[in-house]
């Protein structure tokens, strides 16, 4: 039974340190198992948030050797023999204790997204969606809200001052799911540009790289939204077409304001 050296952040909002543990491992273990073993055998008060241990609840997000990952989906046999492993809480959000962070920033943004507003029903009393349209937005619904994309996004990770004006990749996925929905009638394009801060994204694709659900966040959500913003704001031809068609340029009044407001 090989023993691994694991550095785990121990501390809270007032301070903390990396503490080293020697942990015996078994074949097939993941990093979350190792953290649980530390908890069971050495540090019963080690705080870690987890739930399904199957990569579907998005609870056990952390940084493993500096890379945002789900602890339950990171196998121990992916490390070199003798490699030291460092597990720290996600950096973008404030620490509550040990590996547990306060991710309420995300929930505050979530509250502000204008809800789905369906078209009127058809004559037979139904609303229809076609398979091709379903498939395009279905990808966005795979999101498990682990917030790894939010953690790795340098706009909010490295620039605390930008947090108030940038919703982050998770919410661009949500907004794309709504904007591309064939039955939705809300137009959030101007809101996406002005309040959700899409222009801050510089397409470095780290959100896509870390997504455990392999959602093509940048290619399928963020860039198509950027192109929609180009049409509504920066493309004079697109702007003229919208004016001729009489589509509203901005969202109706009364929608919730983002946390920055």
């Amino acid at each position: 039974m090989p023993t691994v050296k694991v550095n785990v952040f121990r501390g809270d909002a007032s301070g903390g340190e990396l503490k080293r543990y020697d942990v015996p491992t078994d074949p097939g273990m993941v990093v979350l198992d190792v953290v649980h073993r530390i908890q069971a055998t050495q540090e019963p008060d080690l705080a870690v948030r987890w739930n399904c241990k199957a990569g579907k609840c998005g609870s056990c997000s952390a940084e493993i050797n500096g890379l945002p990952k789900l602890m339950c989906m990171t196998r121990m046999d992916t490390f070199e023999e003798g490699e030291e492993i460092t597990v720290t809480p996600v950096k973008t959000f404030p620490v509550i204790r040990d590996l547990v962070t306060d991710v309420s920033y995300n929930y505050e943004w979530a509250k502000t997204i204008p809800a789905f507003k369906p078209k009127p029903k058809e004559a037979d009393g139904t609303r229809r969606m076609y398979q091709d349209d379903v498939e395009r937005v279905q990808e966005f619904h795979k999101c498990i809200e682990c917030f790894l994309c939010q953690d790795v996004c340098h706009v909010i990770r490295d620039h605390e001052e930008d947090k108030a004006g940038f919703a982050g990749p998770r919410y661009f996925v949500r907004l794309a799911a709504l904007e591309m929905h064939p039955l939705d009638t809300n137009d959030r394009t101007e809101l996406i540009r002005q309040k959700y801060g899409l222009g801050y994204c510089n397409i470095t694709k780290c959100c896509t790289d870390v997504c455990p659900e392999h959602i093509h966040i940048t290619d399928n959500a963020i860039i198509p939204l950027k192109e929609r913003v180009v049409t509504s704001t920066y493309d004079p031809v697109g702007w003229a077409l919208r004016r001729m068609r009489g589509k509203p340029a901005t969202l109706a009044a009364g929608e919730p304001e983002p946390p920055s407001a």
Binding site: G16, G66, V155, D162, Y200, T204
Partner: protein, 255 residues
């Protein structure tokens, strides 16, 4: 006990070789930029009948060795490459894939995922000059026009003194324009313009097929971007070496 700042604000905990990608991109794009500048300034050896270098096509001056559209007179005495370099340059500079690459490699914004930005202040693409990235679809329109001319050049590359023929140069030019087409029509702006702007594809089967095709190309956009960059350079180099008499183009002509 250390403070949060001591532990959590250390530069990063990454232990892998994250710096390889930025170094590779700086090196390759830097070398390509130097090559493109030098061959544009040289203003010679860009035509070897019937091959025209992509750096000089379309050739717009009457002083060209092989004019495509001679709309500019002899008063223009600089390299004709300078007249057309803006279109492919603007298309590549504003391309979403290249943006990802050079923001990481040249601006260190960030240099790699979860490695900190080099700069304390950040405004992304909300202000000048980076707000100009939004012209990408206009750069695409120009790039499509240039691409049409490059396809015409390929047709001419199979014409040897009014006889059909195939030379190694013809095939290189054909491969180059295929790669450029894959890159151009798989671009994110093209994918949006052919159908991505729609919320529902129902009843719009042509636009759906075009969007699907652009999506298929777009999934490998980075490869198209790199391969087409290399192919432009290699096509020019091949024609240049032939024009300079360094190598001889093998060709088969039907007479």
């Amino acid at each position: 006990m250390a403070t949060i700042a001591d532990v959590r604000q250390r530069p990063h905990e990454r232990t892998d070789r994250w710096w390889i990608e930025p170094i590779f991109i700086v090196t390759v794009l830097g070398l390509f930029g130097i090559y493109a500048f030098v061959v544009s300034v040289m203003n010679n050896n860009y035509f070897h009948d019937p091959y025209l270098s992509p750096f000089y096509s379309p050739c717009l001056t009457t002083g060209c060795i092989h004019p495509t559209f001679p709309i500019i007179g002899n008063w223009y005495n600089l390299s004709p490459a300078f007249l057309i370099v803006g279109s492919p340059l603007a298309f590549r500079v504003t391309c979403y894939y290249y943006r990802r690459s050079y923001y990481r490699a040249f601006f260190w914004s960030p240099p790699a995922c979860s490695v900190p930005d080099a700069r304390a202040k950040y405004s992304g693409e909300t202000r000048f000059p980076f707000i100009l990235q939004n012209i990408h679809r206009y750069a695409l329109y120009l790039a499509v026009l240039v691409l049409a001319v490059l396809w015409w050049d390929v047709i001419l590359a199979f014409n040897f003194d009014s006889h059909f023929g195939i030379g190694l140069g013809s095939l290189i030019m054909l491969a180059n324009v295929v790669l450029l087409s894959g890159y151009t029509f798989g671009c994110h702006a093209a994918r949006y313009l052919v159908g991505g702007y729609l919320d529902s594809f129902h009843g719009k089967s042509l636009r759906f097929r075009l969007w699907e095709f652009a999506t298929m190309l777009n999934e490998h956009h980075s490869r198209w971007a790199w391969f087409s960059l290399f192919s432009v350079m290699l096509t020019d180099l091949y024609i240049r070496l032939n024009a300079a008499g360094v190598i001889v183009d093998p060709r088969w002509v039907l007479r």
